[in-house]
Structure formats: C-alpha cells, structure tokens
C-alpha cells in the first residue's frame, strides 16, 4: 500500500500540487472578493459622507458581505424567456475562468507561484483578454437591448484598452529584460530600485498602466458597460442570484490581478523595500533553513497582498470620486491619447536604457525617488491639515467662498 502510494506520488506529484495550488488560489479569490466588497462599501460611504455598513458582525459591519452573499445565494435565479439559455448560463463561468486563470502565473512571494512561466506576464494579459468573451456572451445571451449595448461597449472598450496596457507593461520589461514575473520582482531589491523610480518613462508608464487597468476592469470612470444611468445595469441587467455573484467575484478577482501586475512590474513585487530577499535572509544568513524560508515567505505574501489591496483601494477611491465619462470620450482617451503615450514611453525607455550613461540614469533615478517621497510627504501633510481643520476652513480643493453672502468664514486659520 505504502509503495503504491509513493509510486503514485512520484508519478503525479505535479498534479496533486496543482490541485492544492488551485484550491488555495480559489480560496484567496473568495476572501479577496469578500474583503473588497466590504471595503468598497466602506470607502464609498466615507467618500459620500456616510458611514457605510455598521451593524452586521459587530464593529465596522465587517460581516456585511457574508450577509449579502447569503441573500444572493437564496435569491431566485431567473432566466428571461427571450434569452439564449445555454449562453446565458455559460457566460458568467467564462468570465470567472478568465479572471481565475490569471492568478496561476501571479507570484505571491519568492517561489509562491502556481506555475512559474518564462512568459508569465504575457500569459496573464492573454488570459485576462478572454474574460471579454464571457461578457459578450452575457450581453448577447440575455436577449435584452440593455445587455447587448453593455456587452458591445465592453467589447470595444476592452479590445482598445488592451493595446496601451500591453505597451505600458512592456516598459519595465525592457528595463528588466525578462517577462518572468518572479525574475522581474526579484530584480528590484531595495525601495530605491523599484522600477517606478527607475527613469521618467517607467514613472509615467505606471500611471498610464493603472489608468488602462482600471478601464479594463470596467471600473468607474470607465464603467460604461454597466452605466446605470443609461443602460439600467448594462450587461448584467438580467442576472440575479448566484450567477450575478459569479460575475462580481470575477470582477473583483481581475481587479486584484491587474493590481498584482502593477505591484510586480513597478512596485517591487513582494519586497518590503529592503535591499535583500527575506527568504534568503532568514534561510541562509540567519541559518534557519526551510523554516526561515517559510517565515520569509509568510512576510512576503502578506506584503504582496497588502500592496495589491492598496492599489485596489485606489481604484475604489477613484471610482467614487470621479464622474463617469461618455462612451466616445472613453474611446477617444484610449485611441488618441493612451496609445500614443504608450508608444512614446516604450520608445523612450528603449533609448534611455541603451544610450543614456549609467551615472545619469542613477542620478535621475535617485531624484525621482526623492521627489516622490517629498510629494507623498506633502500629500500626508495636506491630509493632516484637512482632517484637523475646523468646519468652514479652507480645505485643499475647496471652493473659496469669501465674499459670498452668508459665508461665516473660518474661525481659525490653519
């Protein structure tokens, strides 16, 4: 019996490990979706001067999503009479598959990856583009004009935004010389070596990439596919219950996936910002062996997930702050601005890496790093004054109201 087991193990270890990895990833996607939905409601509430969920689960309403999920599970799963039943049922699962498969190539830590590929980045972009297919099927299969419009808009938007997204992601690839996500992450040791601070082109590429990523996740201000004010709910108008849940799990999953790409390509991956790899430090330098590698990777994975969640939070922040664009503005922004910007960045970074002397590269890199820190500090200072300001005091971005009738003025200048 034991011999057979070991035989089985030696033959099929890859597959057993694959099943374990898949289960871990699905678990992470679920927890991430639960957490992000709660976070979204809290962030939306705070930005709109409300409290957001407060009751379920004691403090902060942190079990609100579970209650929502249970409600959705027992909700009636209705299919319109005019729908194409087969496609209507199939669509959400294709969307979820596209979102989930991207996680296979996403490294969470040093070696914490389901399949370490040479071309991990390319694989992620390719597999996330198949998500659109599910949305087109949803839009077409629902048999409703709102859904069809939403699906078509989504198709046009996603296909267009893939181009600048890929161009921007190629910028750090040029610097790193690899498409292997683990290698790219490992080549940025020390916070001053993160690719966002490498040169002006990577710095701009980060913001351009993040804009495109938001558009490809169909988040506001680019959520034209589900614009409530014009299309009821866009492509998922006819969905309810579990299938709706699946669509949204996929959306939150791909939000983390694109944020994960941004973290790995620009923000140092799982690194804490220290100039050495934590697994090496605990495992080799401190001589803890395998235990040290595990400890290092626990820290790595935590850091990576926190960074990813921070970018997801920024997406929510933008969503609840900016108004929605029009569909022609969305397309114009991509085709007239983002694609040329992406081309210029790619050409620029190639010239930079090839022809600019190393010493100048380093000076500019340090300058960018210091300026970014100063900018962050200034923002923090502004935020602090804003929070501690008395009512009516001039806040950053607030309209100046002196001279208006009825304005009582600040009681204390800050």
């Amino acid at each position: 019996m034991l011999e057979r087991l070991s035989d089985f193990w030696s033959l099929n270890a890859t597959y057993v490990l694959a099943i374990i990895a898949a289960n871990l990833l699905i678990g992470f996607m679920l927890v991430h979706a639960i957490f992000s939905v709660w976070l979204e409601r809290k962030v939306a509430g705070r930005i709109q001067d409300r409290l957001g969920p407060t009751r379920v689960g004691g403090k902060f309403g942190w079990l609100q999503t579970l209650a929502d999920g249970m409600k959705l599970l027992v909700k009636e799963d209705s299919i319109p009479a005019s729908a194409d039943q087969f496609l209507f049922r199939l669509g959400p699962y294709i969307v979820l598959l596209g979102s989930f498969l991207a996680f296979i190539a996403l490294p969470f830590g040093d070696g914490v990856i389901a399949r370490d590929m040479n071309i991990g980045l390319f694989f992620m972009l390719a597999i996330m583009s198949s998500e659109v297919f599910g949305i087109i099927l949803i839009g077409y299969g629902s048999g409703s004009k709102w859904s069809l419009f939403g699906g078509m808009r989504e198709a046009a938007q996603m296909i267009s935004y893939e181009i600048p997204m890929a161009l921007c992601v190629l910028v750090p690839v040029v610097v790193a010389g690899s498409m292997n996500l683990s290698e790219v992450a490992k080549s940025q040791s020390g916070i001053w070596n993160w690719y966002i601070f490498h040169d002006p082109f990577t710095f701009c590429a980060f913001w351009t990439y993040f804009t495109c990523a938001m558009a490809s996740c169909k988040r506001a201000p680019f959520d034209l596919a589900e614009a409530e004010s014009e299309l009821v709910a866009g492509f998922h108008t006819e969905y309810s219950g579990f299938r709706w849940l699946v669509i949204f799990m996929a959306e939150y999953g791909s939000m983390f996936a694109v944020s994960g790409i941004a973290v790995i390509m620009f923000l140092g991956g799982w690194s804490l910002g220290l100039p050495f790899e934590l697994t090496d430090f605990f495992g080799t330098t401190l001589g803890l062996g395998f235990f040290g590698v595990v400890v290092g990777n626990v820290i790595n994975v935590t850091v990576f997930i926190v960074k990813g969640w921070f970018l997801v939070f920024v997406m929510m922040w933008v969503r609840w702050t900016l108004p929605r664009l029009r569909i022609d503005q969305v397309m114009m922004m991509c085709l007239k601005y983002l694609i040329p910007i992406g081309c210029v960045l790619l050409a620029g970074v190639s010239v930079w890496v090839l022809f600019v002397p190393i010493i100048l590269q380093q000076i500019v890199g340090w300058l960018l790093f210091i300026l970014s820190l100063a900018g962050l500090g200034y923002m923090g200072f502004q935020l602090r004054t804003w929070v501690s300001a008395p009512p009516g005091a001039g806040m950053p971005g607030m309209w100046r109201m002196e001279g208006l009738p009825g304005y009582q003025g600040a009681t204390k200048s800050v």
């Binding site: 035989d7 089985f8 033959l11 099929n12 890859t14 597959y15 194409d84 087969f86 496609l87 199939l90 370490d116 590929m117 040479n118 071309i119 390319f122 694989f123 972009l125 390719a126 597999i127 583009s129 198949s130 659109v132 297919f133 087109i136 099927l137 077409y140 299969g141 069809l148 078509m152 198709a155 296909i159 690899s178 498409m179 292997n180 290698e183």
Partner: protein, 224 residues
C-alpha cells in the same frame, strides 16, 4: 499504473474533439462561435500540457481575440437577417464532407509516414529529457520562444554554412595537381518567414472580404 499526464491529455483531446464536432453541427452562429472558442482553448491547453507556454499563450491571445471579433461581427451583421440560424444545403454538406475527408487523409498519411517515433527505452529517455527541459525554466537556457521568434522573423536557426567535401584534385594552368578547398555553401537553415508572410496576407484577404460583406449588406438594406 495511473498516469495523470496521459489521462489529462486524453481528457483535453477528447473534449476538444467534441467541441470541434459541436462547432460544425450547431446551426446558431453565436453558439457555434462559442464552441469554436472552446476548441481553440482546448488546443492551447494541450500546448500548456506539453510545456509550450509561449505557443499556448499566443494561441489564446490571437484565437480567442479572433473568435471574439467573429462573434461581434456575427451579431452585428446578422442579427436581423436569416444568418442567425444557418441552414446547410445537401450540396454544402457533401462538399464539406469531401474536404474534411481529404484533410483527414493528409493528416493520417503524415502521421503514419513519420517513421522515427521512439519506442521502448528510447521513448522513456526522450520523456525524461523532456521533463528535465520543462523543469529548467530559466529563460537564459531555455531557448524555445526566442528560437521560434527568430525563425519567424527570417533569421534562421541552425549552422550558417556547411563545408562541402573537398573537390577532387584538379590540374591548374601550369599542369600541377592542386587540391581546392570545399566551397562553403548555405545549408537548409530553418526559417518560417515565407509561411508567416503567406498567413498574414491570407488574414488581409479575410479582412477585406469581411469589410466588403459589411458594406454590401448596408447598401442593399437602403440608405441607413
């Protein structure tokens, strides 16, 4: 002994085959395109199973995107016409069966005429080497993607020149026997530039055809 790799291969291959059959016999154009998508995704998962990540990802990106455009065109161009459900006539069936059988014949001929399939110990050795190659995931040593890329761009892969065997001794103008060195000549370097270009021109033809169909339809339907 239960071999998971073979099991996975047969599972994916049979599912891909079933989806291919469904693509052909489905009458609804969008459903047919969906089955086509599954067929192509199945092919790419076979590539992934064999460790050819790059080809698999290319397959996904290009063909899934292509199928998507097909669906968008299919929906947009044929939503109101009789094209949503395609009725196939007997003659079309006959032609497609003949063409399919011919393709099957070519494929079977190609498979059976390939004599050098390793068996027994050689097969085990080849499998072992293959696994080792897959585990060596270092981009510096594994040259698959770059090799294919170079071959596609016409650089070629393989030795540049092969020396001919030295020519037989000949008499020069003064009547002395001399041995001329072998003339270097180009060998058959592997490159796929021509097929690559042919495929792209083929795609251009398809693109023009699609544009022509779309315009012709609009003209027939009145000035809308």
């Amino acid at each position: 002994m239960f071999d998971a790799e073979m099991f996975m291969f047969w599972l994916i291959a049979s599912l891909t085959g079933l989806c291919a059959i469904a693509t052909v016999i489905t009458q609804n154009i969008v459903r047919s395109a969906t089955w086509l998508l599954f067929t192509l995704a199945g092919t790419s998962s076979i590539f992934f199973l064999l460790g050819a990540d790059f080809v698999g990802a290319i397959q996904l990106l290009i063909y899934v995107g292509g199928t998507m455009v097909l669906v968008v065109f299919g929906v947009m161009l044929t939503a109101q016409g009789p094209f949503v459900n395609m009725r196939t006539s007997g003659a079309e069936w006959a032609i497609s069966i003949v063409a399919g059988l011919m393709l099957l014949g070519v494929l079977c001929f190609g498979l059976t005429s390939f004599q050098n399939l390793p068996t027994g110990e050689a097969l085990a050795k080849a499998k072992d080497a293959h696994t080792k190659q897959r585990k060596a995931n270092d981009p510096k040593t594994s040259t698959h993607a770059s090799t294919i890329g170079q071959a596609l761009s016409g650089v070629g892969y393989g030795p540049i020149y092969k020396r001919m065997p030295p020519l037989p001794p000949t008499k020069d103008a003064k009547g002395n026997l001399v041995t001329l060195p072998g003339v270097p000549r180009e060998t058959e370097r592997i490159h796929y530039l021509l097929p690559f270009e042919i495929v792209s021109v083929h795609l251009l033809v398809v693109l023009i055809g699609a544009a022509y169909l779309a315009r012709a339809k609009r003209r027939r339907g009145g000035k809308a």
